[in-house]
């Protein structure tokens, strides 16, 4: 069952086993194909994601978007296809979620099933999910997309996917929402002790020299390093910043910010934990 395999690729084992129990009161291995599809709808949003935050423009009414969207049942596609496809839309008057997907391919050396020492060059195709969510409780919209390459490269590709989406749904949400710069919000969360910086890479604007610090001990925190402080003050240009987030649950989440607008979050498929971090960020935006 492709949905089952897709869930296993996206989520931690502990998470998908727990979700199967919570949602369907069944063990993960005994779910029906409809139940696997239901679980994949969640897995498409959580797990490892790049996220951008958008805010509704002044004077715009969210109902202009919601009244022009048509509900569509979530139906993932597992046959490889070229362009972006919309696979589900759900909406209320004040909020909406658009699920979409596409495939990427890359070449890799794959071990032979009979002898792991023998490897052959193969083309690997990977299903990627992009989800647009207007949150019901505020004026923010979250764009989440599966990780492809490194942060900066992903940020350059996103406008192309959004163009394709606008063509399909005949509506471009960028006309209604502005992208938010989140570096200041992230630095505030570091100051408040919500996030712990572990790695920072910054560039000196005058000389183009890259400066970086990596914390190599488990509980270390680099917020008292000059490089971090100069970056937070805007004297150095932020390239990337890796942070740890201690959620309500015992597990730590990893958060990375690339430049000023792109965040990479590796979250549990657990709404409480995921929403906890997103809520923190939105509160200080």
């Amino acid at each position: 069952m492709p949905a089952r395999e897709e869930i296993k690729k996206r989520l931690r084992q502990a998470d998908y086993k727990l979700l199967a129990q919570q949602l369907f009161n069944q063990s993960f291995d005994n779910l029906s194909s409809t139940q696997y599809t239901g679980l994949l709808k969640i897995a498409d949003i959580y797990g490892s994601k790049y996220i951008q935050f958008y805010k509704l423009k002044e004077g715009q009414d969210i109902r202009t978007i919601t009244s022009n969207l048509n509900d569509r049942n979530y139906q993932p596609i597992f046959d490889v296809h070229q362009d972006l496809q919309v696979i589900g839309i759900s909406k209320t008057e004040e909020s909406f979620t658009i699920h979409s997907q596409f495939f990427t391919s890359h070449e890799d050396w794959v071990p032979s099933p009979t002898n792991p020492n023998i490897k052959t060059r193969q083309t690997i195709t990977t299903r990627r999910a992009m989800t647009i969510r207007k949150l019901p409780e505020n004026n923010y919209l979250l764009l989440s997309i599966d990780p492809i390459g490194e942060g900066a490269a992903v940020a350059r590709d996103i406008p192309g996917y959004l163009d394709q989406l606008a063509e399909i749904v005949q509506l471009d949400f960028r006309d209604f929402f502005d992208i938010k710069e989140i570096d200041g919000a992230i630095h505030s969360l570091v100051t408040n002790g919500v996030l712990i910086p572990r790695t920072i890479r910054s560039r000196e604007p005058n000389t183009n020299r890259e400066r970086s610090v990596i914390a190599r001990a488990a509980r270390d925190n680099i917020r008292d390093e000059n490089i971090y402080q100069n970056t937070a003050a805007g004297d150095l240009d932020l390239e990337s910043l890796r942070l740890y987030f201690h959620g309500a649950h015992r597990r730590k989440e990893t958060v990375e910010i690339y430049g000023r607008t792109l965040l990479k979050i590796r979250t549990n498929a657990n709404k409480e934990t995921t929403d906890e971090l997103t809520t923190h960020i939105i509160q200080v935006l």
């Binding site: 502990a14 001990a217 509980r219 008292d224 890796r242």
Partner: protein
């Protein structure tokens, strides 16, 4: 058991009783002069040993014992990338290794490596210490030091280690530091009441400079220190 008692117990079990005061001061000195202001600081066995002098491996064994017996010292596991060996991957605490799945967010290759046992990757064990606990629980009062001075003064090696520790806290250049240390050895051997100076190890580094300055002003014959601190 408190960190202080655990440390004394370790010293007793391992024939290091004579050095227990020096070891205690070395930890406090390390914590108060560490440039990081974090709650948890990396404990470098090599640097600690430069003040204690029992060998790096013996310091590691002591840290292992403290990590097992107290919550002031914790192990930190430094993992190396499975794809690019010897390149730093991620660091995890002991608690994080108790999870069924251990996720290493790799600094070397930018991937997430999921392992189920630490042995699946190359790793090293480091140690981190809770700065506040180390300073609070190992801090020596001037009265404690006065009692310890009987032991300290009978062994020239102890005086040398103390001088090394105090000199490391002074804001003077490399060559001057050695000269300052030699002068401090003379000072410690001469001055009867040095408990205030040693107690200063658990304070801000500026206190050490100030204490030395005061002592130097009350003494003659330590002209080198007088010159070094003339402008401070």
């Amino acid at each position: 058991m408190s960190l202080r008692h655990t440390l004394y117990k370790y010293c007793k079990l391992n024939g290091l009783e004579d050095l227990s005061c020096i070891i205690q001061l070395a930890f406090v000195n390390y914590a108060t002069s560490n440039p990081s202001k974090n709650k948890w600081i990396y404990l470098n066995p090599q640097i600690l040993d430069s003040f204690i002098g029992i060998g790096e491996d013996a310091v590691k064994k002591m840290l292992e014992y403290l990590a097992d017996q107290t919550d002031a010292v914790k192990r930190s596991y430094t993992f190396y990338c499975p794809e690019k060996e010897y390149e730093f991957c991620d660091a995890k605490s002991e608690e994080e290794l108790e999870e069924d799945e251990i996720e290493l967010v790799c600094n070397a290759c930018d991937q997430v490596h999921v392992i189920h046992d630490k042995k699946e990757c190359l790793y090293e064990i480091d140690f981190e210490g809770n700065r506040e606990k180390i300073v609070k629980e190992l801090k020596l009062s001037t009265k404690d030091i006065a009692n310890e001075l009987v032991v300290l003064n009978t062994n020239p090696e102890h005086i040398d280690k103390l001088a090394e520790m105090i000199a490391s806290r002074l804001k003077v250049s490399g060559s001057q530091k050695e000269e300052a240390k030699n002068a401090i050895v003379r000072m410690l051997s001469t001055v009867k009441d040095i408990s205030g100076l040693i107690a200063g190890i658990s304070e801000d580094v500026a206190t050490t400079t100030e204490s030395i300055n005061k002592i130097v002003k009350n003494l003659s014959g330590i002209s080198l220190l007088e010159n070094l601190f003339a402008s401070q």
